[in-house]
Amino acid sequence: MHNHFRTASIALAALALLACGQLSAQSGAKKSGTIAITGGKLLTVSHGTIENGVLILSDGKIAAVGEAGKVTVPSDATIVDARGLTVYPGLIDPDTALGLMEVGSDPYTSDLSEPSDEIMPHMHVYDAFHAETELIPVARLNGVTNAVVAPAEEDSIAGQDIFIQLAGRDRDAMILGRDIALSMNFGSDQRRHGSQFPSTRMGLITQLRQSLLDAQHYEATRDAAMKKPEKADNKSADKSGDKDGDKSFQRDLKLEALLPYLHGQRPVVVGVYEGYDVESFMKVAQEFHLKVILNHVTRTQEILDEIAAWKVPVIVGPIYDLPRPNERYDAVYTLPAELAKRGVKIAICSGEAGGPGGAHAVRNLPYSAGFAVAYGLPYDEALKAITLNVAEMYGFGDTLGSLDVGKTANVVLANGDPLDVRTDVKQVYIEGVAQPMVSRQTRLRDEYGK
């Protein structure tokens, strides 16, 4: 029965998609016309709240935003009456495994990490990203329109992240950025237990430092080789290699993958929990001039001023990480507020301690931010921490994260405060296209709710 039903529901889904003319990885294939969302309470994120606002979406972008009466509604616009609704930019989760896992306990549906070695910068998440995952519509229904997808935290260098949009005709339309950041980790989870190196934090750090030095050496060697005139007798050279230089030069994809990060061109995102681990890692980061985004930092209460002094952005959380025994119960709950108070640019992620985090719980992203508000984070900062701040950390600040003219029309309409668990999202727009408010779960609900 179980499996039969699944087959049936998949068939049903396919039919529904055909009926909508949206046979695509994650719907949203059609470009929008002009839509005017009127009468809603606009949370712009960048320039405050507009109680009775008008938002014009045109050609997939925000064409106008402002108070009712001050914005001209084009005559050809489809009017969406948003009176009584709250309108805000699509939420962005800074740390997910969307498209890298399906059924949590089933390794055959997961491509989370490559644990054969600790240094794996040449693992590209875009090679595994499964655009058709059932998890994306579930997250989208609660207003999440964009996300960073990163490997799991088993390696010191786990691979390179992607930045996705939670709609699109296929993988290529959904991936807005490839290799946007290097996913790194430091702490107790990356070491190999038993007799294998590295089995200690000393081992992990020395291995990391050696890898970065190797990459620098590789670059110097490569650059020198590329400058040499081509040898006439080198017939066996790889024809696909560089046009200039030594065609016999053998590229090392692993070391090469590190170069943009050694040049500070893109950020490294470091998953680290303990304060003393942050301090150890930052020494290496400073030595190699890495552009750091700290991730988690849920046990760093004693070094918050140091973190602020480094002027690095921080993805804080999951806010639901448990405090240590003999810490006050709110030691982690208050971290976003404590960091923001010190001027740190923060993002908040959706993971949950003990539960299925990372991918299945992405829909709970707004509640994590709301919980930070309960423990002292100003509301506007919380909303930023799941929208504009994330966009800016990953280089999408010009196109995403706020209701501003010219930005991508990723917009959410809800019947109340987006950060409250009781609020129901009514409509999600991605690139100005109204997304079907369905998921595998709504189909099951509707099938059995008859």
């Binding site: 179980h2 949950e352 539960g355 509640y367 508000v373």
Partner: protein, 434 residues
């Protein structure tokens, strides 16, 4: 004795009251869980019990008054599925049938998870055996009087529950060792055989008791077998049967086996596919203790939908939310709030899912779980509506005594000082597939 006295003295200072002194919490929005919400309501606590609730109460002038203007008052949150404070002793996974395991033997009353839960308003927990075994051990019910002695934390005279499990966990644990069970067929056949064994055991005792009743002095008592005795107590209806079960087909099979052997199932735990068969389960009276929105963490959680709780409730099943997690236990009020979003539960219905309904599942709903005269004064004062994301438990009372006060220094625990046990861990037995 000395330590109890010391604890009481410190509590009295923090709470500004003595154990016998009356307490009035007034001007609160009182969510009673049994008879709606009172605006500007007052609750009078006398001798650890609720003595009055309403627009005004007849408390003596000597009562300590807590002004809760602008705040919310609810019954204490009750978690009907927790593995907190059991260390690493959640599963005696050495045999698929271990009904004589008593979880109280593993209970550590200084575990930090109890404190974290208390600060989330949790006043009562059912600490269950894990789900590695088809028939696990017997639960312990605690009142979360963090800081008191182990014995003082046991819920007095609560019914004894026993944990069963079906589906993936037992078959994975034993199947991976090439032992029975490695399939659902194996799971259920082990149950049936266990009850067949128990029937023989019971018959032996029945025969002996009959002889004794007739005055036969030569009658020799059969051996007491703790395992069979526990199973016999299931058949005798002396134990509340709490079953870990996910899939719709298994919910039906469990009911069929219960009917065949003549016992009642108190509640299905997880039951993520209850929405598919709620109409068939409702007439049995079996309740559901489920997650709000966990899904996808394993195959048998793949069809989980967040509307499960409300859909099942609408079909007539008594529904509670539970944590199964040292994390979620700290914010079950928010999990209840999600039910307003997923399926449109009323605030009353949502609050009941984390108070009165779990109290029923545990079998203590005549004593706690709602704000009614005569019940234990297990109460939580919240800064805002407890169903919102922004709610913080400010004060938590158990039996009328203040056990958590957010404004108090340090841990905010008038009765606890010293060192907590435990490492930060997930405390999740099922959710992460372990």
């Amino acid at each position: 004795m000395l330590s109890v006295v010391t604890a009481c003295l410190s509590a009295c200072v923090a709470a500004g009251q003595t154990a016998n002194q009356d307490l009035v919490i007034r001007n609160a929005t009182v969510m009673t869980a049994s008879h709606g919400t009172l605006q500007n309501g007052s609750v009078w606590v006398h001798d650890g019990k609720i003595a009055g609730v309403g627009a005004s109460v007849d408390a003596p002038a000597t009562a300590v008054v807590v002004d809760a203007t602008g705040k919310y008052l609810t019954p204490g949150i009750i978690d009907p599925h927790s593995h907190s404070a059991l260390g690493n002793d959640v599963n005696e996974a050495t045999s698929p049938v271990t009904p004589s395991m008593m979880m109280i033997d593993a209970f550590d009353n200084r575990d930090a998870a109890l404190y974290d839960a208390l600060a989330g308003g949790v006043t009562t927990e059912l600490l269950l055996h894990g789900s590695a075994n088809v028939i696990g051990g017997q639960a312990v019910v605690i009142k979360n009087k963090f800081g008191l002695s182990r014995d003082a934390m046991i819920f007095p005279n609560a019914p004894q529950s026993i944990k069963f499990a079906s589906g993936e966990n037992p078959k994975r644990v034993y199947g991976s060792r090439n032992q029975l069970p490695s399939t659902r067929m194996g799971n259920f056949e082990i149950m049936r055989q266990s009850f067949e064994d128990a029937k023989v055991y019971m018959a032996g005792w029945d025969a002996y008791n009959a002889k004794v009743a007739k005055g036969d002095k030569s009658a020799v008592a059969p051996k007491v077998d703790l395992k069979l005795e526990a199973l016999a107590n299931v058949l005798r209806g002396k134990l509340y049967v709490q079953i870990h079960c996910y899939r719709a087909d298994e919910l039906l099979t469990e009911e069929a086996i219960a009917k065949e052997y003549g016992y009642k199932i108190r509640a299905f735990h997880h039951g993520l596919e209850m929405y598919k068969v709620a109409g068939q389960i409702a007439p049995t009276g079996t309740a559901l203790a489920t997650f709000s929105d966990w899904w996808g963490y394993k195959d048998e959680a793949w069809d989980a939908i967040p509307w499960n709780a409300v859909m099942s409730m609408r079909a007539g099943v008594r529904v509670a939310l539970k944590s199964d997690s040292n994390d979620h236990i700290r914010r079950l009020n928010q999990e209840a709030g999600k039910m307003v979003h997923y399926g449109g539960a009323t605030e009353d219905e949502a609050i009941r899912m984390v108070t009165l309904n779990p109290a029923w599942i545990i079998g203590v709903d005549d004593r706690t779980g709602s704000i009614d005269v005569g019940k234990d004064a297990d109460l939580v004062i919240w800064n805002v509506d407890p169903l919102s994301t922004y709610a913080r438990a400010e004060k938590v009372y158990i039996d009328g005594d203040l056990f958590f006060d957010m404004a108090a220094p340090g841990f905010g625990t008038p009765h606890f000082s010293g060192v907590m046990h435990g490492a930060p861990g997930e405390g999740s037995e099922d959710g992460d597939g372990d």
